[in-house]
């Protein structure tokens, strides 16, 4: 039973992460490849709170504080990284974000007080699947509402055509930075959930490989689609477990299968399962959508 509960928790965490990357990659069209870095910053920041500064209060209150610390820490990193990086475009931005997330990981690796290369242990267990799924639900509702709001439309217009958006009076830098910071912050919250759920953190859990994994989830579902992100996260978190059931031989091929899936998806349906659309969407007039 615990095993299934763990999978369920992981699904919730990955839904949160995928939605947060979807805000940056899908809504705003900024190709970020360093999402695991923000995830890691949030996880480590809230774990530092849990280990060194925990208040003697109810675990639920402590978890709420840890979540906000995770959010703020990752959002601050997003701000620091976003201000210089968002001047870059496309593949340059992708490389700069890889660079920053690797630097963050190396800094964590070299800090002895948070475990360094041995990993950070003895984190209090405050989180449970209720927290995970509550956050996932809240983020889903936020993303759905954002997509329909004026701010969301401004962000999406940046993805569609930057120059046209700027001409229409959208403050490019402000909205890019907004999506970057909020995306990073939500990833930080997911990190804090992981930290207080697994009670152990290792810098290699937040490597480039994981940024790619989250990215694949977003792309599989469809960039810019909330339902797509959820479906992508669910499929790609459960798929390895199903492969494990089929046979250990198959599950060793997991990443190869992922990679092949990624290539085939790009060759046959580059917009992902849903494209930019949602599962339940009101039919719009022709020419307006």
């Amino acid at each position: 039973m615990d095993y299934y509960l763990q999978i369920l928790t992981n699904v919730g965490i990955f839904i949160t992460l995928t939605l947060s990357l979807n805000l940056i990659n899908g809504y705003c069209g900024q190709f970020s490849l360093g999402h695991a870095g923000f995830w890691g910053v949030g996880a480590y920041a809230s774990a530092v709170y849990g280990v060194y500064f925990a208040l003697p209060i109810d675990p639920a209150l402590n978890m709420a504080i840890a979540l906000s610390i995770g959010f703020v820490a990752a959002a601050l990193c997003g701000l620091l990284i976003g201000i210089p990086c968002l001047r870059l475009k496309g593949d340059y931005l992708a490389i700069a974000t890889i660079g920053f997330s690797e630097i963050l990981r190396i800094i964590i690796m070299n800090t002895e007080s948070i475990g360094g290369p041995r990993g950070f242990t003895n984190i209090p267990r405050w989180s449970n699947s209720w927290w995970v799924w509550g956050i996932a639900l809240a983020v889903t509702l936020f993303m759905l509402n954002l997509k329909r709001s004026a701010h969301g439309r401004a962000i999406i217009s940046i993805r569609e055509d930057e120059i046209a958006a700027e001409t229409m009076g959208v403050n490019l830098f402000r909205y890019k930075l907004f999506s970057f910071i909020v995306g990073a912050g939500i990833a930080g919250m997911a990190g804090s959930l992981v930290a207080h759920d697994q009670q152990f953190l290792h810098p290699n859990n937040f490597s480039f490989m994981w940024s790619v994994c989250i990215l694949v989830m977003v792309i599989l579902g469809g960039q810019g689609s909330v339902s797509g992100s959820i479906v992508g996260a669910v499929i790609l978190t459960i798929l390895p477990e199903i492969l494990k059931l089929i046979g250990s031989n198959v599950s060793t091929w997991r990443v190869s299968i992922y990679a092949a899936l990624m290539i085939i998806l790009m060759l046959t349906r580059p917009q992902g399962i849903f494209g930019p659309h949602e599962l339940f969407e009101k039919k719009r007039l022709k020419g307006v959508a």
């Binding site: 190709f31 210089p84 990086c85 001047r87 870059l88 496309g90 593949d91 340059y92 992708a94 490389i95 700069a96 890889i98 660079g99 920053f100 690797e102 630097i103 190396i106 800094i107 690796m109 070299n110 120059i163 480039f208 790619v212 990215l215 792309i219 060793t252 091929w253 997991r254 990443v255 190869s256 992922y258 990679a259 092949a260 899936l261 990624m262 290539i263 790009m266 060759l267 580059p270």
Partner: protein
């Protein structure tokens, strides 16, 4: 000057020499990146994996007691042929889909080769049987090995060869034309598909060469392409992506900086340095040291 200061300078000189030798390898790999990027504006993430596959070809050739030149040719050809297949099967169909799908495909190809390589070859590092006898030349307090000299000389030779190729041969001129404007080159009767395939082959065979040299000085393993590929890409961006001398310059800068930091400060910061330099360069001059600024047109 005290004795300590003198030793400090000798140490610096030693790190500089090691850095140049390592930077040469980065430069060779970065050349492939920069040529492919220059011609189709694709960051070929799988370039490091071409390097790894080339290194394995060379490793098996040496395992079968073939001489070193044959092993080098085997690794170059092996990497080149894999690159041709990947280009034909994956990159060519997706070329017109835009840059982000192509980038994702490249990441997919890279992961595929890494993890499939781990399953096929085994994840453990393999030592290449020694063929050269390593000779150390000592100047004062500094050691230079014959392999370092060989690698550095080879890099200069490759640079000269590429300069000759791009300026004095028909295919080189066609390559430059294609990278300048693909559509216009096509209208001028250049078979751009052939030119792009040739560029991939050339870049990957250089990667294969770097792979066997790298494997010879360290070891051969399926994940070797990952960090080396990323760093070579950083080198290409630092020097100015799409510019051939820029790739070499970036490679040398990175190699020297890494060895200096690892030697003088802390070796665990070695990997951070290259990314730090990258970010500084991207902030000051995103087109790289030798790159040209391109204005965006509406």
């Amino acid at each position: 000057m005290t004795q300590n200061t003198i030793y400090f300078f000798w140490d610096c000189l030693q790190y500089l020499i090691n850095g140049i030798a390592q930077g040469s390898l980065y430069a060779i790999v970065a050349l492939g990146y920069t040529m492919v990027y220059g011609i189709i504006r694709l960051v070929n993430f799988a370039h490091g994996e071409f390097l790894m596959l080339g290194a394995f070809c060379g490793y098996f050739a040496l395992k079968f007691h073939l001489p070193m030149p044959v092993a080098i040719i085997a690794s170059m050809l092996g990497a080149g042929i894999v690159a041709l297949i990947v280009e034909r099967m994956i990159y060519r169909p997706i070329r017109n889909e835009g840059r982000i799908p192509a980038l994702i495909t490249a990441i997919g190809a890279s992961l595929f080769f890494q993890y499939t390589g781990q399953l096929v070859f085994g994840a453990d590092p393999k030592t290449v049987p020694p063929v050269f006898k390593e000779v150390l030349y000592t100047f004062g307090e500094v050691n230079v090995s014959n392999i370092q000299v060989f690698i550095f000389g080879l890099t200069l030779l490759i640079l000269l060869f590429l300069w000759w190729l791009t300026h004095y041969t028909k295919i080189g001129v066609a390559m430059r034309a294609t990278s300048f404007n693909l559509k216009a080159a096509e209208l001028m009767g250049i078979n751009t598909n052939k030119i792009i395939a040739f560029t991939f082959f050339l870049g990957a065979s250089l990667a294969g060469l770097a792979g066997i040299l790298m494997g010879y000085t360290m070891s051969v393993e399926p994940m070797m392409g990952m960090s080396l590929g990323l760093k070579a890409f950083v080198a290409a961006v630092v020097g100015g992506i799409g510019v051939i001398p820029g790739a070499a310059l970036g490679g040398f800068i990175l190699g020297i900086a890494e060895n200096m930091v690892a030697g003088l400060y802390k070796s665990s910061f070695r990997d951070g340095v290259s990314f730090f330099i990258l970010i500084i360069i991207l902030l000051i001059k995103p087109s790289g040291i030798l790159g040209k600024n391109v204005k965006e047109k509406v």
